[in-house]
Symmetry: C2
Subunit: 553 residues, 2 copies
């Protein structure tokens, strides 16, 4: 995920919105609902303190570089580059590098963490600093291609490169920031005419808040799915830092929707309930003035609100809290945060009209997916209805009978309205918008929302998947939703096939961790205008491990 | 100073030497003189330990930036740029900067030290790192001009620029290295589309091992010389770190010849005898195998020998030790290092032929000055003879009668030889080489060596200074020697005029600290091929304070 403002700008360009849209959107985002429930400042402060008390100590793994490699253009792989091994990493120490010379290393897998190495000078006199440029690649293309000129619409500062000057050699250099990388390219910008640079002991210091060993897969799981599972676990592991980060390369931020699916995978694998609890508190502590949660919070240098509000993400906090309580059994936290969840249903529920249909207000952000062609009316209706169902489930668990009853009524109304408004019974699919668009998103969310079930649900999903004119997902995130929907209506084979076709294709194309976006038809696709800014270890993509352990696949 | 190898390369180009010269030179530099006195490993280790025990704690001064400035090309000033004030530095905080925008700050004077500032993000969402480029200028031109493409023959890593990425804002940023600067240019490479950068609290954290307040100048010293004195003191102050550094921008290294003149200024001002003692031990601890001292030592990351040997610098260790003992009265250190000094005279003295004349061996480095046209025979003879005289002085002080006698003989021989070989009695000047070259260097060193004295000495100096065909100095370092010579023969007015003409011109052209090289006829002159690599706060240039306090001017 990234930010609402960029979304709005992109959407504005597509929809011909005026250049003043962002300001209008911000004004809307800041509007207050007088008299509505919001946490008191004391309450927010207590939640932040609670979250900080739960801040995990990261565990580290030090792993040496394995190989000297050379990127080779290869049109047969999705990302267009593969790595050829030149020599074992140990061979590096026998070489020396002068200004303008470079090399690339492969750590054998993705790392989220730090980098250190030993830099020595070899020659008549080590009489000047060394200046180096390092480029960190999650995938071969990042160290193979020129990153400039940069054409993206996210900050260029996310480009994973660094120029450093080392004053005194020999020195054990520890790079100043955390990086996401499997590959590192090192270019010597300058030594001096009197010495060359010698490198050795390249070590990745990976960090994560994931501990313990996930339960083994059932013995019946075949090898191809085991490979998908391993990549999924690594993705989850690397994104579990002091929050569930959306991506470790970028934006390193806690988003509600992204966290929801990461947390599900976490409950089935590393079971770090404290991290989930910390994140639930952090998100709860910084609502908009009216109590609606922001779609994300910033954690560093100190926790604070973001300016982003996103309708589906606000609603999904309810599902996330329900998931947490169900997985952990922690009713205390459930009760404490229950008003927050209820408030989201109340606020998002205000967009339900008299016919029981969600009407997305103008200039309000609904995410669902990065697929720009997507008509989001039906899926947003599905999201909210799903969240009312999850809210009712949680209310039952917490013994809040009044809410059980209230949400029950809303569920009945919205279910009936969905069926009459969005369901094309003749074609057996949900449609959205005046053009009656068929999409994976609409089917998936309507199925999860329980508007149809069993064979009817399965048919809707299958029809969308088979119809070449239906709008497919643009992200692994929506693929996850599709898997959830297929699982819910018992379509285990279809779910497995989807996992094999989609996540399996990434593995076959060399993924060590799952990518933020994967459009099999366009390997250069980026929601941000430049593939070099894409994240290749993205939390919302790492959920196959959840499905493989929850018995649904 | 820089390094011998570069000197040899330059000289080789000039003299048509083959590309193999450096190797041959290195072989020569490493040759051993079996049976000769050298310190034992235990002795060297003890001297290093002694030096480390004397390592000073640096004192710091925190000073805020004063002004926002804009460089303006100005052909009327030597360095071609002047700074115009845009606003007080406090105005900075009211501005915000987007990618591609920049500003420059003036700290009001030269600083050797660190830099910190507060970086904040202003906008809808501070959702990405900031990437900045900082350029540190000792003089306006460094932040006004493009530093690339770089054409120098010293390491490009000395170019005072840094690219940093700040992950989390707001942040108090402390730049990672020590810099030499009066001006800082900050360029925003990237924020994000959602925020702009705001800067404030720019602070220079200057460091020095100079403490105390130098004695006031005599009340008779006029204002123009007081200004020269102030710049001189600042130069000395900034170059006094954990060693006497040649330059704080570059090479940050302890050189014998450079230190000799810095130490003289130190004894007359800050009187940090411990620093001088530390440096004498450091230099003594790492001789060549035969006992000849290297021209410099490296201090960091750990003390070690350099590969540079330079005939005049080796000899000048004797003068430096004599200066130290005379100034400090520390006979204990004098006695301990006396064998080192004697060994230099012995080794450099081996180049004196049967006629009592120094013959510079091929491919052996003699520095004297950066003036490439200089014929160095006479001046090297003068340096060695001067050092025998200083050796005799020290031997007397230490009660080494045998050496007093021995050096006395050598002084008599070399003085007579100098007069008959290098002195053109008819013209009243010293000449050097087959072309009978007249230079400031030859006169200055022959006068300091006592080959002529009184009126005869004054005439030689004056004639060289007035003769347009004589070779002038290329550095403040040789100008210092010239002042010493003028002072020795009582030419106070001439010395004062030289100081006013040379150092005064730098002050008039805006120098806050004195420059490594200053050729009034060529403001772009660099011994290293690119003026941007020149140092503008150079220890060997900061000695007017010595002359103004020693009663000679």
């Amino acid at each position: 995920m990234f930010s609402r403002r960029d979304f709005i700008r992109d959407a504005g360009l597509l929809m011909g919105m005026s250049a003043t849209a962002p300001a209008a959107v911000r004004a809307e985002a800041q509007q207050s609902q007088a008299g509505a429930w919001t946490p008191t400042p004391e309450q927010s402060a207590a939640w932040v303190a609670q979250a900080e008390a739960l801040k995990p100590t990261l565990s580290g793994v030090n792993e040496p570089a394995l190989r000297l490699v050379r990127p080779v253009a290869d049109p047969n792989v999705y990302l267009r580059w593969r790595m050829e091994t030149e020599a074992p990493a140990e061979a590096l120490r026998a070489r020396v590098f002068n200004a303008g010379e470079s090399f690339a290393l492969d750590f054998g897998g993705h790392r989220a963490g730090y980098l250190s190495f030993l830099l020595e000078g070899v020659g008549h006199s080590v009489d000047a600093p060394a200046r180096l440029k390092l480029t960190f690649g999650e995938v071969p293309g990042t160290v193979a291609e020129m990153l400039h000129p940069y054409r993206g619409n996210l900050s260029e500062a996310w480009l994973p490169e660094e120029i450093i000057t080392i004053d005194f050699l020999p020195q054990r250099v520890r790079m100043p920031r955390r990086y996401a990388f499997r590959y590192v390219r090192v270019e010597v910008i300058a030594t001096s005419p009197n010495y060359a640079a010698r490198f050795s002991q390249f070590t990745a210091h990976g960090v994560s808040s994931a501990t313990g060993r996930p339960a083994a897969l059932p013995s019946t799981v075949p090898e191809n799915l085991r490979r998908i599972d391993a990549v999924s676990l690594k993705t989850l592991y690397d994104c579990m830092q002091t929050v569930f980060e959306d991506g470790v390369k970028r934006d390193q931020r806690l988003w509600i929707g992204d966290m929801r699916v990461q947390a599900l995978a976490n409950y089935a694998t590393f079971r770090n309930y404290a991290l989930a609890r910390r994140c639930l508190y952090l998100l709860a502590a910084y609502p908009r003035q009216d109590g609606m949660l922001h779609a994300n919070v910033f954690e560093k240098p100190a926790p604070r609100a973001s300016g982003d509000v996103c309708l589906d993400y606000a609603a999904l906090y309810v599902a996330m809290l329900a998931d947490y309580v169900r997985a952990s059994g922690d009713l205390v936290t459930g009760r404490e945060l229950w008003p927050v969840a209820q408030r989201q249903l109340e606020l998002v529920g205000r967009n339900v009209n008299e016919q029981g249909i969600v009407v997305i207000p103008e200039k309000v952000w609904v995410f669902i997916d990065w697929q720009q062609a997507l008509e989001k009316g039906a899926s947003m209706h599905g999201v909210l209805l799903y969240c009312y169902r999850r809210g009712r489930e949680l209310a039952q668990r917490l013994g809040d009978a009044r809410s059980v009853a209230e949400y029950g009524k809303q569920i009945a109304t919205m279910t009936a309205a969905a069926k009459s408004t969005f369901y094309d019974a003749q074609r057996g699919v949900f449609v959205s918008g005046p053009e009656r668009q068929v999409s994976w998103a609409s089917q998936a969310w309507m199925v999860l929302a329980g508007v149809v079930a069993g064979q009817e649900a399965a048919m809707a999903l299958q029809r969308a998947m088979r119809d070449p004119s239906s709008v497919p997902p643009g992200t692994p995130y929506l693929h996850h939703t599709m898997l959830e929907a297929l699982a819910l209506c018992g379509q285990r084979d279809a779910a497995r096939k989807l996992m094999e076709d989609y996540w399996g294709a990434m593995v076959n194309d060399g993924a060590d961790t799952f990518w933020e976006v994967f459009d099999p038809k366009d390997s250069r696709f980026s929601p941000y205008g430049d593939v070099h800014i894409n994240s290749f270890c993205h939390g919302w993509s790492g959920t196959p491990a959840y499905f493989l352990r929850s018995g649904v696949i």
